[in-house]
């Protein structure tokens, strides 16, 4: 996976609360069999009208936000379904960091599997950053967001930080524990034999 270190880019403000995964990527695009190509459908129902024309009032249809790599949003971003299509679509569009007061649990985890950094900042900080002219810098090693002469520190769990900084493959990491897993399975078979799965 692509590592995340320091990102400098345009930040698009979309300051609604409860931006759900249905809004980020509607169901008709979940029929795909691959992870790529979803960026064009990101926020589809608010980005385009029923005829597929861009809605000029939507932030990502405006310059310079078409090339945004940072999204500023309200609380509870990514609530709703578990669809990883949401971070896939964000990433494919070019977004690498989302700054919001809070994130839904599954979406938050899905971000790290895809090299996306969800940054938790108080709403006042997000609003202040939204008013900054020019690009923002999201500095993961320093755990800071900078822009317009301002600096905001953020907190992130060290294990999550390491995954992004090094672009770690979680499955490969877990494979280091394969002997623990095998030992657990043997123990469980003795302690809870009813868990053995019967077949139809």
């Amino acid at each position: 996976m692509e590592p995340f270190t320091i990102l400098t880019g345009i930040a698009a403000p979309l300051l609604r609360v409860n931006i759900d995964t249905d809004l980020i990527i509607p169901k008709q695009f979940l029929k795909t069999l691959v992870r790529s190509g979803l960026g064009q459908y990101l926020f589809q129902e608010v980005r385009y009208d029923a005829e597929g024309r861009e809605r000029p009032e939507f932030i990502l249809n405006q310059a310079p936000y078409r090339t945004a790599s940072i999204l500023l949003a309200g609380a509870n971003f990514g609530c709703g379904s578990s669809r990883e299509h949401a971070p896939w679509a964000l990433k494919d569009f070019g977004i690498r960091a989302i700054l919001a007061p809070s994130f839904a649990d599954i979406f938050y985890t899905n971000c790290f599997a895809n090299g996306l950094l969800p940054v938790q900042l108080p709403m006042e900080a997000v609003e202040t950053l939204a008013a900054v002219k020019g690009p923002l810098t999201v500095d993961l090693p320093a755990q800071q967001v900078r822009g317009g002469g301002l600096t905001f520190a953020f907190v992130i769990e060290p294990a999550r930080k390491a995954v992004l900084l090094e672009g770690l493959d979680e499955i490969k990491r877990t494979e280091a524990n394969l002997s623990d897993i095998a030992a657990y399975e043997i123990r469980r078979r003795q302690e809870a034999p009813w868990l053995e799965i019967r077949t139809f």
Partner: protein, 469 residues
């Protein structure tokens, strides 16, 4: 020993290792797989040349994309068909148990798992689907995961996890007749908000929860994700054991006895500490109806569409204004005065036999109001068969409802069951997000009885006024 919560106990039993970075590796007992969130996971395995560790720990079924009419003729929509075919090819290649489209046992994954006895107390259960929380009704730790995690479980039968906080929800008092688990769930989310449970596992307690059937408990746990919690839990008891006993995949004979002895220990200990407690007195609760585009925007049937001017903050006010515009509602409108064009009874929230009985009791001898299209979609083939054996299909058909084949259907409309722009629907599903049931459609979440009452009167009506003849 320090008293532990039910969540603590299941967690401890599944801990494989604590890694140097502080994360825990949790063993996953059961994995449910459907066609929408699995193709990229299988593809990932294939690309990395990794085997699937325990094919038998998976139960797979197609549900989101399946047609609810004429499925014996195959799937007409090409993208839907390709996704189901991809699942079928993958499960064949990896030797994963699968319930085919025309099998009587096919249905929504969260209805099928419990029906087959795949869902057991004290297990860890995952699925690439947020409503995996449903299985918590059995005292199982069940949560939704993303596709990368699906691949991780396929490869290792584990997941790196951080422990959540414990939240106890206690419902005080008894539900009055005509109310059910859906009303409990909506009232709770109305109270704590859709982010209220974020970072927590919710355990539901209180006499009203004990009195619920397994169907009701599943409805309640199903909605815990709408309150932000990844998992909901109800400790198993006699009701749970009676439901599981004799199911095809449930333990039998001596294994059953051993299981039962263990399951009885899976309760939160006296004095176990919870990080957060929520107490809700439900004695005077009335049927719940959502008015907005988030499940937290809910009121009771005697209420009115609220005024954003009364919102707690500016952000809330903006959000409410937007919701009212989307829903085409004016503040102060009585809920009962809202007219509808569609009714959907089904989904993993309310597509089980008890839900259909509740709706049929209201529909019996009445007619669907002119101008309303009403759909009943059983949660599984077995629910459908049972309903037909009880004559519920006749009741619905005579009243003017459509009686369909099982699947997710109009809960999210990945198949052909979609609402047109601007159509207002009373739905027994779990999400009323913008565009959820079709671009521009307007969803109001209610219980099955309330949905049937809306279908026969043309607007929201207190189901209690239509009960008892």
């Amino acid at each position: 020993m320090t008293p532990r919560t039910l969540y603590d106990k299941i967690w401890d039993e599944h801990l494989v290792a604590v890694r140097s970075d502080g994360t825990s590796l949790l063993y996953i007992d059961r994995h449910l797989v459907h066609e929408v969130t699995s193709p990229q996971a299988f593809e990932g395995l294939r690309e990395a040349g990794r085997p699937l560790r325990r094919p038998n720990a998976i139960l797979s079924v197609a549900d989101h994309n399946v047609p609810t009419l004429g499925r014996e003729h195959g799937i007409e929509d090409e993208t839907c068909r390709l996704q189901v075919e991809a699942l079928e090819a993958n499960v064949r290649a990896y030797g994963v148990p699968y319930l085919p489209l025309l099998d009587d046992r096919q249905g929504i994954v969260h209805v099928v798992g419990p029906e087959q006895g795949f869902t057991l107390p004290g297990t860890t259960i995952v699925c690439g689907d947020s409503h995996t929380s449903t299985h918590g009704a059995f005292g199982a730790l069940a949560f939704g995961i993303g596709t990368s995690e699906v691949e991780h479980v396929m490869a290792t039968q584990t997941l790196p996890q951080r422990k959540s906080k414990n939240l106890r929800v206690r419902f005080e008092g008894a539900l009055s007749p005509g109310l059910g688990a859906k009303d409990l769930a909506l009232a709770l989310i109305g109270r704590i908000g859709t982010a209220g449970g974020t970072g927590h596992v919710m355990e539901f307690t209180g006499p009203a929860v004990r009195a619920l059937s397994m169907e009701g408990r599943m409805t309640l746990c199903n909605m815990s994700i709408e309150g932000g919690a990844r998992s909901g839990l109800v400790a198993s008891d006699g009701t749970t054991f009676a439901y599981i006993h004799g199911r095809p995949l449930a333990p039998k004979g001596a294994l059953w006895d051993a299981a039962l002895a263990h399951w009885r220990t899976l309760v939160s200990d006296e004095g176990a500490s919870f990080d957060t407690e929520v107490v809700l007195d439900i004695t005077t609760l009335a049927p719940q109806v959502t008015w907005g585009t988030s499940p937290q925007w809910v009121t009771d049937i005697a209420g009115c569409v609220p005024d954003p001017a009364a919102a707690a903050s500016d952000d809330d006010r903006q959000a409410m204004l937007r919701a009212l515009e989307y829903m085409d509602l004016t503040p102060g409108t009585p809920i009962q005065a809202i007219d509808l064009q569609a009714v959907f009874i089904g989904s993993c929230t309310n597509g089980r036999i008890e839900d259909l009985r509740e709706a049929a009791a209201v529909a019996q001898g009445r007619k669907v109001h002119p101008g309303i299209r009403a759909l009943v979609v059983p949660g599984s083939g077995l629910v459908k068969r049972q309903a037909e054996a009880e004559g519920l299909d006749r009741i619905f058909l005579e009243a003017g409802f459509e009686w369909r084949q099982p699947g997710c259907s109009m809960c999210l409309g990945m198949n052909d069951d979609r609402l047109a722009e601007g159509v207002r629907c009373a739905s027994t599903s779990n999400r009323n997000f913008e565009g959820r049931q079709g671009r521009g459609s307007r969803t109001h979440l209610v219980s099955p009885g309330m949905a049937a009452a809306a279908a026969v009167t043309g607007h929201f009506t207190d189901v209690r006024c239509l009960m008892g003849g």
